[in-house]
C-alpha cells in the first residue's frame, strides 16, 4: 500500500482534499473577536441578505492546514511567506463554503523550498467568494 504524501511532498498538479464548512453566527462572532472588528455589516441582516462573514475567517479557513488531507510529521510546520488574494463576493452567515487547493508551482529561494497553492472558496450556491495564491514554506528544527 502506497504511503500518503506529506504536505511538503506535494508537487505541481497535486491537490489537497477539499474542505466544507458552514458559518454559523457563533463561528463568525469568534472571528470578530479575534480581529477586533465588530462592524455591523458582520452582525446585522440587510436587504442584501444575512450578515457578511468576516473575511478573516475565510483567510484562516482556506489555509492548507485546514484540508482533511493535510498532514505533516511532528516537528514540521507550514509557514506562509507570501500571499495574493482577490475577493470576489462577500460570504453570508448561514451558508456553507467549500475550499479547494491545488499546487501550481514549487521553487527554491535562498536554500529554502516553497510551494505555491491556488485556493478557491465557493459557497453552496456556487458563488465564488475568494481566490488566493499562497506561497508556503515548511519549517523544522535544525539538529
Amino acid at each position: 500500500m502506497a504511503q500518503r504524501k506529506t504536505a511538503d511532498q506535494l508537487g505541481i498538479g497535486d491537490e489537497f482534499e477539499p474542505y466544507q464548512f458552514r458559518v454559523t453566527p457563533e463561528f463568525n462572532h469568534q472571528y470578530l473577536e479575534a480581529v477586533d472588528d465588530h462592524h455591523r455589516r458582520y452582525l446585522e441582516e440587510t436587504k442584501l441578505g444575512a450578515p457578511i462573514v468576516h473575511p478573516a475567517l475565510f483567510l484562516n479557513y482556506c489555509s492548507i492546514t485546514k484540508s482533511p488531507s493535510f498532514y505533516l510529521p511532528p516537528g514540521i510546520a507550514a509557514v506562509v511567506a507570501k500571499d495574493e488574494i482577490e475577493y470576489l463576493s462577500p460570504g453570508r452567515v448561514g451558508k456553507s463554503f467549500r475550499v479547494s487547493w491545488k499546487v501550481v508551482d514549487t521553487y527554491t529561494k535562498r536554500g529554502r523550498s516553497y510551494q505555491v497553492t491556488e485556493i478557491s472558496v465557493v459557497d453552496e450556491d456556487g458563488i465564488r467568494i475568494m481566490r488566493r495564491r499562497m506561497n508556503c514554506t515548511y519549517m523544522a528544527r535544525r539538529e
Binding site: E26, V79, D83
Partner: protein, 144 residues
C-alpha cells in the same frame, strides 16, 4: 461609506486601528471552532512547545490575522464593495508574538482611470509597536 474618493491624490497616507495581539485573540483566530475539550488546537500560533519543536523561538500570530487587518482597512477605505473585486498581495517579513500591537497602514501609490471608475493601487503594510514592518505589499480597489 467609502473614504477614498476619485479626487484622492498619490502619496496620501491612511492608517487603520491599532490591534493588540492578545492570547485570547490568537486562540480565537487559530484555535479552531467550536470551542470544546482540547481547545485551543495546538499549533505554532497557540502553543509554545509546538512552535519550538518546529524550530521557532516562540508561538507567533498567524499572518492571516494581519491580512484581516489590512482587509478591514481596505473595506473602510473603499467600502463594502471592496469585497467584490478588491485585491491584495502581502509578504510576511517578521514574526509577531503575543503582547505586540500591529497597525495596518496604506499609502496611495498610483491611480488610473478605467472604464468603470478610478483604480487605486496602495502600498500597504503592518507595523509593530516599535515601528518595524511585519508585512508589506500592495492592494488595489476601484472607486466608481
Amino acid at each position: 461609506m467609502a473614504i477614498i474618493t476619485r479626487d484622492i491624490q498619490e502619496g496620501r497616507p491612511f492608517s487603520g486601528k491599532p490591534k493588540k495581539i492578545t492570547e485570547e485573540r490568537v486562540y480565537a483566530f487559530s484555535g479552531g471552532f467550536p470551542k470544546g475539550p482540547g481547545w485551543p488546537q495546538k499549533n505554532i500560533h497557540t502553543d509554545v512547545e509546538f512552535a519550538r519543536r518546529c524550530g521557532l523561538s516562540d508561538r507567533n500570530a498567524s499572518g492571516s490575522m494581519f491580512e484581516g487587518y489590512v482587509t478591514e482597512l481596505m473595506v473602510d477605505l473603499f467600502g463594502e464593495n471592496w469585497l467584490r473585486g478588491g485585491k491584495m498581495q502581502l509578504v510576511f517579513i517578521r514574526m509577531v508574538t503575543i503582547g505586540d500591537t500591529v497597525l495596518p497602514k496604506a499609502i496611495v501609490q498610483s491611480r488610473r482611470e478605467e472604464h468603470s471608475g478610478t483604480r487605486f493601487v496602495l502600498e500597504v503594510s503592518c507595523e509593530n509597536q516599535h515601528g518595524d514592518k511585519v508585512a508589506v505589499g500592495t492592494a488595489s480597489g476601484l472607486v466608481q
